[in-house]
Amino acid sequence: MPSTAWSERTLSYQCTRRCRPRVSRATLGAVEGVRVEFRDIAKRFGRRLVLSGVTGTATPGKVLVITGPNGSGKSTLLNILAGLVRPTRGSVRYLLDGQELSKSQWFRLLGVCAPDMAVYEELSALENLVFFSRVRGLALPQELLEHHLQVLGLRPADLRRPVGQFSSGMLQRVKLAQALVHDPQVLVLDEPSSNLDSAGHELLAQLLTERARRCAVIVATNDPREVAWGDTVLELAA
């Protein structure tokens, strides 16, 4: 098994898009990472009020777990925190050293893996990863991407097969690879170890503890094993 400590020796690569401030890995590593503060979040879909009055903070090096019965709005809250959905009330602020980031900068520092997200079935695992890394503006060498996939437990033979033929467990690993490929500062995971076997879950736990030192992690789950990771737990009412 290749050493999974690749994330420790972070790649020194510049964020490749003209971003204000210059968000580069070098500055990130040294200083306190990205914080996500959300206050009094509410969301209404037509008549139904799904969330109201949700407040909390995700800090680097900590794992924030969000639990709650089905339909309590866990995934909606995650979409709001990721910046994909606009809350009806309340605010979400992404702070890097006290400076608020714009949405385009924020997306580059964010890794998301959720059940309602898919990768391209007609492409192979490697092609998917190449696409998602290049479209983020990173020209990562092919060997590194293969290394990423192998770190997540995919056999070399699987790398070039179309993802459509993958089992749900392997698909989940490709989605996790896509969320981690650009070395994000904040990880938003919605039931990350769904479809994963125990080895996969172990691997995920190890990856998270290793990354959690520098990276804020938000996990929405009801799986007790995952709730155990949480430094702080946010319970959503039904």
Partner: protein, 238 residues
């Protein structure tokens, strides 16, 4: 093999390259599944054969042919293309890959990539249909240069307006029929000028006769592209 030894100087990828990455992905996906290609090609072929069988080269008078032929050409082109043009966004929403793409790529790169794909689809359709149309319908063109100019401008114009409309309807339900309903009124003015330009290219000896129509089509395309540049991020990121 630990990471430090990896060469791979990380280069910054500009917007153009990200767009080309999106385009490359679209082409690879399309060439593997060939759904849009076959639906567009078959639609064009069946319509052409139905029309050519009924009207054919000899049933209409000599002087009426350019009028009728240029109108029929563009109608077949547009409606054949509209069976494939919206797929570029509808496919992403149906397969739930839109959320992953939203997080990974910049709206400008997504729009440009998809626009270029639609442009290639249209130009490919024109390359496929126009020769057949000329043979089956006995469509003689006096000025080939002007005709190709009109075809190219038409391809760009139709691609521009249909890409944005595709992005809009992809997020609405029942999107396949909705595309034609929404695209036709936007495209009609352009079709009027394209048909007029084609008629001029077919009848007039010198190519400047088609110039006014070309100018109108290109200005309409320019206006549509500029507006779409502002509107697409709003539609894409909701």
């Amino acid at each position: 093999m630990t990471l430090e030894k990896l060469p791979g100087e990380i280069r910054s990828l500009s917007l153009l390259r990200e767009s080309l990455t999106v385009l490359r992905k679209e082409l690879v996906s399309e060439l593997r599944s060939r759904v849009a290609l076959s639906s567009v090609g078959l639609f064009a072929l069946t319509t052409l054969i139905a029309v050519a069988y009924q009207i054919g080269p000899y049933r209409i008078h000599e002087q009426d042919r350019p009028h009728l032929h240029s109108a029929l050409l563009w109608i077949i082109l547009f409606f054949a293309a509209s069976s494939g043009l919206p797929r570029v966004f509808v496919k992403e929403e149906d397969a739930h890959t839109a959320k992953t793409l939203r997080l990974a790529a910049r709206p400008a790169a997504v729009f440009t990539g998809k626009l270029l794909f639609n442009l290639l689809l249209l130009l490919g359709l024109e390359a496929f249909l126009v020769p057949l149309f000329a043979v089956f319908m006995g469509f003689a063109v006096k000025n080939i240069g002007a005709f190709f100019l009109v075809l190219a401008a038409g391809g760009l114009g139709l691609a521009a307006s249909s890409t944005t409309v595709a992005a809009i309807i992809a997020r609405a339900s029942g999107s396949s029929t909705l595309f034609v309903v929404l695209a036709v009124p936007l495209v009609l003015p352009m079709l009027v000028f394209l048909i007029q330009g084609t008629r001029m290219a077919a009848t007039a000896a010198d190519w400047t006769a088609a110039l006014p129509a070309l100018r109108a089509v290109l200005s309409l395309t320019g206006v549509t592209l500029v507006t779409s540049a502002f509107l697409f991020p709003v539609v894409w990121h909701d």
